[in-house]
């Protein structure tokens, strides 16, 4: 199966920076994801949102990359949240206990204004 490229773009919103993620999050996504996160941090936003609507595959290395971002966010006392995850990946966030440490929201509006997916 062909590996889809991973892309990440930063968008500025009044309540924080949004990282629009697309493609597959695996070990090959590290450079792009780290660079996009660094870009998102530049204007020192209080919150960074990860938009997973365009992501169709995450493996365990990809989950580890997200934990790395979460560690960076916590070190700088910044909120990191996720939205746009399918039901399957919401479950993966539960299995890996990631959802204990970051808000998981159904869409951007609720991520910005706060209704967590359970």
């Amino acid at each position: 199966m062909a590996v889809k490229h991973f892309e990440a773009e930063v968008r500025r919103e009044p309540k924080g920076a949004v990282l629009d993620l697309r493609g597959e999050i695996n070990g090959f996504a590290q450079g792009t994801l780290d660079a996009a996160y660094a870009e998102a941090e530049k204007e020192n936003p209080g919150a960074i949102l990860l938009n997973f609507e365009g992501v169709d595959y995450i493996n365990s290395t990809g989950i580890a990359l997200i934990v790395g971002l979460l560690a960076r966010a916590r070190a700088t006392k910044r909120d990191l949240s996720a939205y746009g995850l399918s039901e399957h990946y919401v479950e993966i966030f539960n299995i890996t206990r990631l959802s204990d440490f970051m808000g998981v929201f159904p869409d951007e509006e609720s991520a910005l204004y706060g209704t967590v997916v359970k």
Partner: protein, 235 residues
């Protein structure tokens, strides 16, 4: 994201606590059965990302073949030998294997053809994930990799990491990759990269000490005479 994800069968199902199946129940599972699997975020110490890699120069095996052999022969290749007890169903997602004769264990969090990941339980020296994988380098050489995202589970383990457990663990996994290379007839040099992802300690997680398998096993041994003296019911 829509439709059935292609990785659905690669992940373990959600479980609140570990259940040891396919292995003999009893004393050997005491420190693992019923423990919660823990992510790198639930531990106490500094968070580390450790990567060990070996290039399998001159080896024709594909990444899929390398990971397949690694998974099948994990006890021998890792050097844990019989101390690593694989359940009868193998190292499939959700399976729990025992380590150090049952002192602790690991759950298979994820497994596909080119990688597999272990997640540790409460009480283990560190909380987190270990991913074993292989890929083709730009020149077509297969590279095998073990990557850890971990932090010491409690203050005692953090202290042990500072006084030597960290180095001993690095030696353990460098040896594993050398063994893997030797399994394929190669003599690769192991590259090691250690990055502190989060230098902060999670002081509110100091209570993880109550699960520490070394302390619990010591206490279990100390009170063994009391258990022997306890009157047994008859009839």
């Amino acid at each position: 994201m829509t439709g059935q994800p292609r990785d659905a069968a690669h992940w373990a199902r959600y479980t609140e606590t570990l259940e040891v199946a396919g292995l003999r129940k009893g004393a050997g599972t005491r420190n693992v059965e019923g423990r919660r699997p823990v992510s790198p975020l639930q531990g106490f110490g500094k968070m580390w990302q450790k990567t060990f890699k070996v290039r399998l120069e001159g080896v024709g095996a594909s990444p899929v073949e390398v990971v397949g052999a690694w998974r099948e022969h994990f006890p021998e290749i890792s050097g844990f030998g019989e101390g690593f007890r694989v359940p009868s169903g193998g190292l499939v997602p959700g399976a729990v294997a025992l380590l150090a004769g049952g002192l602790t264990g690991v759950m298979v969090l994820y497994a596909d053809e080119e990688s597999f990941t272990y997640m540790t339980p409460e009480g283990h020296p560190f909380s987190g994930w270990i991913t074993f994988s292989a890929y083709r380098d730009e020149d077509g050489t297969t590279v095998a990799q073990a990557q850890f995202l971990i932090r010491a589970n409690d203050p005692v383990y953090e202290l042990m990491m500072l006084v030597g457990m960290n180095g001993a663990e690095n030696l353990q996994w460098q040896g594993t990759l050398r063994n893997l290379a030797a399994h394929f007839g190669a003599r690769g040099r192991v590259e090691t990269k250690v990055v502190c992802v989060d230098p902060g300690r999670r002081w509110r997680h100091y209570k993880n000490l109550r699960h520490n398998v070394l302390i619990r096993s010591m206490l279990h041994a100390l009170i063994a005479p009391l258990r022997w003296l306890r009157p047994r019911s008859t009839g």
